[in-house]
């Protein structure tokens, strides 16, 4: 039991730590491998799947989902969920069009800031309700999902904003590339790196993991749980707002239905990406990979000649497989940690 009766071992890492680290690596590595496998198989069936144009389309298609998934991952890590992201995206996208109609010469960076700010305000509504009313996030954001969408419908009143109403430079941003990489994908990469950095290196980021790992222990440790969770929802909202602006740039045509039903796709991407739905573990990199994987599957299934009616089922099966893998892995890690001596 005590270390005294064993000779001091001066190893840097123990089996337990190595094992746990490998398991965490496996989560993200596993998704990456699945992605590679999918691309290889699809390319064998149809070599054009790997053409530059198609790759660009894939990246573009993943971008918005990936940004939403990064925000969602921040929330899920705290053992919460944000179901309102699709509606926030919709509101922000329509607001983008409306603002450009009103102020045609508005600088694009300012529009990005406005969209993110609008999303942050909506996220603050979520976070505030959860903190003040002590109602589970699932219920609160289910409510705001409809409330925000309702506001969108009231504002749009059946109108549609077309590409012609928006500045050409803004629409070009939706399809432009830098060295072959779509600009939107660069946005997503920047968001991913920034959020990943804070979660890994900042005290507040580590506290998000602590809150999700054991909320009661987090309170006993003096972690300001309410404030941290509030800011997690503000982050998720702000990223959904940003995604709304990018959505407007990419599609050009806007009505009140933008982003309808996206929230479940986002949660799916996060879960497939290895973020534990009960919080405390996982990474935004995994969530972003999950978004890319889901998008690629949707693009690959028609190429593979799979009946479109089966596509949703295939995505669902993937989610179940990801969760199954996750459970099996964590059960295995827990078991070996239990049996292994904790002492070095």
């Amino acid at each position: 039991m005590t270390a005294l009766d064993t000779a001091p071992a001066e190893t840097a890492t123990t089996g337990g730590a190595r094992l746990a680290r490998r398991a965490f690596a496996v989560r993200e590595l596993g998704i990456a491998l699945a992605l590679v496998l999918l691309v290889v198989v699809t390319t064998v069936v149809n070599p054009r799947f790997l053409s530059a144009q198609n790759l660009k389309d894939l990246l573009l298609g993943s971008t918005i989902l990936a940004i939403l998934a990064v925000g969602q991952a921040v929330v899920v890590i705290t053992r919460n969920v944000d179901l309102s992201v699709g509606s926030v995206l919709g509101l922000s996208a329509f607001a983008t069009g409306a603002v450009f109609v009103a102020v045609p010469g508005l600088p694009i960076p300012l529009m990005l800031v406005i969209g993110a700010a609008l999303g942050a305000v909506l996220g603050a509504v979520n976070g505030g309700l959860i903190a003040a009313a002590r109602v589970p996030a699932l219920v609160v954001t289910l409510g705001t999902l409809y409330v925000f969408r309702g506001l969108d419908y009231m504002w749009a009143t059946g109108r549609q904003i077309n590409a012609a109403d928006m500045p050409a430079a803004f629409l070009r941003m939706g399809t432009a590339t830098v060295l072959g990489v779509p600009v939107l994908a660069l946005f997503a990469a920047a968001v991913l790196v920034a959020v990943g950095y804070v979660l890994r290196n900042h005290r507040s980021g580590r506290e998000l993991y602590a809150i999700g790992s054991d909320p009661a222990a987090a309170r006993l440790s003096g972690i300001p749980s309410g404030r941290r969770v509030f800011y997690a929802f503000v982050t998720s909202g702000a990223l959904a707002g940003l995604a709304g602006v990018l959505h407007a740039a990419r599609f050009g045509t806007l009505d009140a239905n933008a982003g309808l039903g996206t929230e479940l796709n986002v949660v799916a991407a996060v879960v497939v990406g290895g973020v534990a739905i009960f919080g405390g573990s996982g990474s935004v990199y995994g969530a972003a990979l999950g978004a890319v994987l889901l998008t690629t599957i949707r693009a690959a299934l028609p190429v593979l000649g799979i009946n479109p009616f089966w596509q949703d089922a295939a995505v669902g099966a993937l989610i179940l497989a990801a969760i199954g893998l996750d459970r099996a892995l964590s059960a295995r890690v827990a078991r070996s940690l239990r049996e292994r001596k904790a002492h070095v």
Binding site: M1, T2, A3, L4, P8, A9, T13, T14, G16, A17, A20, R21, R200, N201, H202, R203, R206, E207, Y209, A210, G212, S213, D214, A216, A217, A218, R219, L220, S221, G222, I223, P224, A276, G280, S281, V333, A334, R335, L337, R338, E339, R340, A342, H343, V344
Partner: protein, 499 residues
């Protein structure tokens, strides 16, 4: 005497109708170790939570250095220099041991980044000071209770606190680890820290502490220098009456073997556990927290699956991991944590009472109000449950009465083997004696009783035979005549073989 470092004066705290603390006082001095003793349910843990800023007192004041102290949360207490080692470890299973120690206070490097290397080194230094070699990089998930406790201790020490509160820190530790902890506590004390030490082990209390405060039923009883007290005197003040009356054990002659457990093993929890409980016998399962006692009782009842071995009830093998079959065979388990595992807090008293046998009460699958009411009323009366109405939610009852409802619920199934896990934890002294009388009566009626208990007086007072577990193994089987405090504690700390 100089001004105390920390003073509690007239502190009271109630939870609903239950008064946990009434007019409690406490003075802690710098450079002094102070013991707080009392029975379970005496209010010690509530007092700790008030010091930790988890609960605010309903009345009374806390002052630090003579100045009033407002604690509106655990962060305030920490900022005031109060570090608490809780009875139940409060770790983050997904995070590394080092991160658990430094959460919220991680060492930083440039750009306010968490300095993982420094954090690892400092965690290793803390463990070196405690004389253990825990791996700072492994996740906290899967640590044994003793190791979790060591992480908690390292966390508290790393705070360089002015007041160090230890709520039964030694409950899961082995002898050498306790010695090390005490060495660290003494050096902190001599460096000017005020230590508040809560323990049920009197030898530890007298070895470490200069003064002893005794509490009973949420009230302050006395504070005296340790040198002027004897163990007997402390126990008398804690209990407030003669101890023997607490344990009305009737003498019975054991009948046929009813519960036979052989070679029961669950990897990582317990190994090769073999014993028999006869009809009419009360067998206590003693041991330190984390020795695997509750895990054994859960596996017998089928809540957890076992990896090897078998459980026989009256010679018939029980299927592995099948609670429903265990209940059908006549087994009942009164769990350790009645709020989480024993009761559905939102449901009424009568609903809770009838949960396990709702099908036998139902007609054509439907429960008619009358059937439930009368069945519940019978049991409430037999166990003297004090409830407003039987339709009140069970959460409105006091701890002792809740425990009676859990007992009623299982006794109503007319079990042949009753497993009770910590049957009197956190309930008042009067109810405790009632529960003991009830268990004794059941045994006299031919029920085989297996009682898991951490309270030595209860074990010694109630049991016909004492089984002792240490680190997942049965280390002793002591008959009533030979069981005493020393023999049980030696076996529980794994020193029986050496002695």
């Amino acid at each position: 005497m100089p001004t105390p470092l920390l003073t509690l004066d007239g502190v009271s705290k109630s939870f609903g109708a239950v008064a946990a603390l009434q007019d409690v006082r406490l003075e802690l001095h710098a450079g002094e170790a102070h013991a707080l003793v009392g029975e379970n349910g005496a209010g010690k843990s509530t007092l700790v939570k008030i010091l930790a800023g988890v609960h605010g007192p309903d009345a009374g004041t806390i002052s630090l250095d003579g100045r009033p102290l407002q604690l509106s949360g655990p962060a305030d207490a920490r900022a005031a220099g109060i570090a608490v080692i809780y009875q139940e470890p409060t770790l983050f299973p997904d995070l590394s041991v080092a991160e658990n120690i430094f959460m919220g206070r991680q060492p930083l490097r440039s750009l306010r980044r968490v300095d993982y290397a420094a954090m690892r080194t400092r965690a290793a230094e803390l463990f070196a000071r405690l004389g253990v070699r825990l791996d700072p990089d492994r996740p906290a998930r899967g640590l044994s209770i003793a190791d979790q406790q060591l992480v908690e201790i390292a966390k508290a020490i790393s705070l360089d606190a002015r007041v160090l509160v230890m709520d039964e820190p030694t409950a899961a530790l082995s002898g050498i680890e306790v010695e090390r902890l005490f060495a660290v506590a003494r050096s902190l004390r001599d460096a000017g820290t005020a230590v508040l030490f809560i323990s049920h082990r009197f030898d530890e209390v007298f070895a470490l502490c200069q003064r002893i405060t005794i509490m009973r039923d949420g009230r302050w009883v006395s504070t005296d220098p340790a040198g002027t007290l004897t163990v007997d005197e402390v126990v008398r003040r804690m209990v407030g009456r003669e101890v023997s009356a607490m344990y009305p054990k009737q003498d019975t002659t054991p009948g046929d073997p009813l519960l036979q457990v052989s070679g029961l093993t669950r990897h990582g929890s317990f190994t090769d556990v073999t014993f028999t409980v006869h009809a009419g016998e009360i067998v206590a399962l003693a041991g330190l927290v984390g020795a695997g006692r509750s895990e054994v009782s859960r596996a017998i009842f089928g809540v957890d699956r076992h990896d090897a071995g078998e459980v026989l009830l009256d010679g018939v093998r029980l299927p592995n991991g099948d609670t429903a079959a265990a209940i059908r065979a006549g087994l009942a388990l009164v769990p350790e944590d009645r709020r989480q595992q024993g009761l559905v807090m939102e449901l009424s008293v009568e609903r809770n009472t009838n949960l396990p046998r709702r099908w036998s009460l139902a007609r054509a699958g439907l429960l008619f109000g009358g059937a439930e009411r009368s069945a519940a009323a019978t049991w409430a009366q037999r166990l003297q449950v004090k409830a407003g109405r039987l339709t009140d939610p069970v959460s409105t009852l006091s701890g002792g009465n809740q425990q009676k409802v859990v007992l009623a619920k299982w006794l109503a199934t007319a079990p042949r083997v009753l497993i009770v896990d910590e049957p009197t934890r956190g309930i008042d002294v009067g109810t405790k004696a009632e529960v003991h009388r009830l268990l004794s009566q059941l045994a006299a009626d031919g029920v085989a009783v297996l009682m898991v208990s951490s309270e030595l007086p209860e074990v010694l007072g109630m049991a016909d035979r004492v089984l002792v577990m240490h680190e997942g193994r049965l280390t002793a089987d002591i008959p009533r005549t030979r069981a005493d405090e020393q023999s049980v504690m030696l076996a529980a700390t794994g020193q029986a073989a050496a002695a």
